[in-house]
């Protein structure tokens, strides 16, 4: 059997040598198709990952809202009333809405931050300690996020973004435990955020912001009872529509506005963007995949074409072999094997080229591109998709010519 296999290879090499140019283009067609499938899907996935990473940079399942003016009259109250939300609404909503996982009020303003001779106008937010994990503000090693005691004791502590740290302390230097001045009031840095990608924000990127306990913020900066906005998180992404509705009805009851009056509160459901991008990339990948598959299909047609030529040119040989006792299945196997050889050579070079391109683009050389299109990758799914398709293409391309070869009538074939 092994010897027979070697004989097949020898035969194949012979055939292909006779048809050098045609074979080259055929193999190239398969290579090109393989490269198309792998690279299109690979780059698509890289881009999707990059965008989704950015989307999640602000946190998952997050809804942000604040008070606005009513546009509907309600229970004898006229429209155009200003709805001002307060800190204790957080507890109320948390208790009433089962889908809600977490809620924090958030106030912010631009504040002068000073460290030595470095001075910056920075967005400072007052928030609850739970805000950190929800908004993906992770402390780098050696530091921590704000905690409950900070909140209870109204400590003057601050958690800062990595970019802000670079600006105030110098790039990469240690800031934890050091003091910075906020409008001349000293605050101790307890943590620095690790680097993250974030492509949506409502008050500046987290990298350049500073976070202090809500209680501290209220005492020092706001002096008023109203809250700019609330950040809340649903338990699951699918819960956000119901959670939004509940917020309207709970707050409508408290502040006496029509729960159907969507203008009474402004609201931003970040999952809508995520859903949009999920479907966008699904469509994108399908489009890319189909594009690659069609290229591969055209390559497959080329293979089928050359196999037909080979079968026709070797009609005599098929007749001889049949006369000497080769069964139809033996002939079928021979031509299927040859087809798979062509496809395999094309596939291997296609994989090699794709791998090369992906490795090059992944290298730091193309770092500035990564920010926009992400890093392309050949993941097992993409690779196996391409492999299965290649197998099918090989089978489809080989089957008809091989069948024709196997059904050759030896009497007629030997007449020529």
């Amino acid at each position: 059997m092994i010897a027979y296999f070697f004989q097949l290879i020898g035969q194949f090499v012979q055939d292909m040598r006779r048809q050098k140019l045609r074979t080259f283009f055929t193999v190239f067609g398969i290579t090109w198709g393989t490269v198309a499938v792998i690279l299109l899907l690979g780059f698509g996935q890289g881009l999707e990952k990059e965008v989704m990473k950015g989307m999640r940079g602000m946190g998952s399942n997050i809804v942000i809202f604040g008070g606005r003016r009513t546009t509907k009259a309600f229970r004898g109250l006229g429209k155009g009333r200003w709805i001002g939300l307060r800190e204790d609404d957080a507890n109320l909503l948390r208790e009433r809405i089962p889908y809600m996982d977490f809620i924090s009020p958030e106030n912010n303003r631009q504040v002068h931050l000073t460290r030595g001779r470095n001075k910056r106008m920075v967005n400072v937010a007052g928030i609850y300690p739970g805000y950190g994990p929800v908004r993906n503000l992770w402390p780098a090693a050696g530091g921590r996020f704000l905690n409950e005691p900070d909140s209870k004791m109204k400590r003057r502590v601050v958690f800062i973004g990595d970019e802000l740290r670079d600006q105030l302390f110098g790039e990469g230097s240690d800031a934890v435990g050091k003091i910075i001045l906020m409008n001349s009031i000293p605050f101790k840095v307890v943590g620095v955020m690790i680097e993250k990608t974030q492509n949506s924000a409502y008050m500046g990127r987290d990298r350049g912001s500073a976070f202090i306990p809500f209680s501290t913020y209220s005492e020092i900066f706001s002096g008023r009872i109203y809250v700019n906005r609330f950040i809340c998180r649903a338990k699951r992404a699918v819960d956000t529509p119901r959670m939004r509705k509940e917020i309207y009805s709970v707050l409508g009851r408290k502040y006496k506005f029509d729960p159907t009056d969507e203008q009474a509160l402004w609201m931003w459901d970040t999952t809508e963007g995520q859903q949009f991008f999920f479907y966008f990339f699904l469509g994108f990948q399908i489009f890319m995949g189909i594009g690659g598959l069609l290229t591969l299909l055209v390559g497959g047609i080329g293979v089928a074409n050359i196999m037909y030529v080979v079968v026709r040119e070797r009609r005599k040989e098929i007749g001889i072999k049949t006369a000497l006792g080769a069964t139809p299945n033996t002939i079928l196997l021979q031509f299927m094997t040859e087809t798979f050889f062509i496809v395999a050579i094309g596939a291997v070079s296609g994989f090699a080229i794709s791998y090369g391109v992906v490795s090059i683009v992944q290298s730091p050389l193309f770092e500035n591109i990564h920010e926009y299109v992400g890093k392309p990758e050949i993941n097992p799914l993409v690779a196996s998709c391409a492999l299965i398709t290649l197998g099918l293409v090989g089978f489809a391309a080989g089957w008809a010519p091989a069948r024709r070869a196997a059904s050759t009538d030896p009497v007629q074939a030997l007449e020529f």
């Binding site: 035969q11 001889i320 006792g325 069964t327 009538d409």
Partner: protein, 232 residues
């Protein structure tokens, strides 16, 4: 051993139907040396193809060693050809890209003979036909007579009982033809059944039984005494 009963073969050529064989009944015993003669279009080739299991009859039955060949499918026919029949063609039908040895190995490959045994057997057969020194030559590097001898070696590779030759000397000069005929004689002595389709009177003269076909029927079937051969 070979029993044809009322065998007919009809070809459909579009609207016209051609009756190539018309009720041929024939028995050929083991070890016979038989020539088939006849003008072109008399059905010689068709009979040859049927006897060689390359084709099946449209009517009638063909038994080979008691097996009903006329009812077999293509795969079964391939196995019968491989085991029982060796072909020698007018135009040799060797694979041009393969060496003499590789050509002889072909039937052994389809018989799934192990590699070592296959090599040994192929070389043995080439030595038998006097080409022990041409084992690695390709057909293009051999003379016509040598090519036909390679084809003979190939026909003998699986030690078949029957050798079918279709105008084996038709493309050869007389000297090479003589060599082939001598080989046939040799095989006949070893007890092989030889069936030769030929125009060559010389070849026919060596056969002890001569069948003449005319318009798809057996016209004459003459058995010669041993005296004929002795007289030569």
């Amino acid at each position: 051993m070979i029993v044809l009963e009322n065998v007919g073969k009809q070809y459909d050529m579009g609207a016209i139907k051609v009756l190539a064989l018309d009720g041929v009944s024939l028995e050929i015993g083991a070890g016979e040396m038989l020539a088939v003669l006849g003008p072109s279009g008399s059905g010689k080739s068709t009979l040859m193809n049927l006897l060689g299991c390359l084709d099946t009859p449209s009517s009638g039955s063909y038994r080979l060693d008691g097996e009903l060949v006329s009812e077999m499918n293509r795969t079964q026919l391939a196995a019968v050809r491989n085991r029982k029949i060796g072909f020698v063609f007018q135009n040799f039908n060797l694979l041009g890209y393969a060496t003499a040895q590789e050509n002889v190995e072909l039937p052994l490959i389809y018989a799934r003979t192990p590699t070592v045994e296959r090599r040994r057997r192929a070389i043995e057969m080439l030595e038998l036909v006097g080409l022990g020194d041409r084992v690695k030559h390709r057909p293009a590097e051999l003379s016509g007579g040598q090519r036909q001898r390679v084809a003979m070696a190939r026909a003998l590779a699986n030690d078949p009982d029957i050798i079918l030759a279709d105008e084996p000397t038709g493309n050869l000069d007389s000297k090479s033809g003589e060599e082939i005929v001598a080989l046939f004689e040799n095989l006949h002595k070893r007890g092989k059944t030889l069936i030769v389709v030929t125009h060559d009177k010389n070849v026919a003269g060596h056969c002890k039984r001569v069948i003449t076909l005319l318009d798809g029927r057996i016209d004459t079937d003459i058995r010669k005494g041993d005296s004929n051969r002795a007289a030569r």
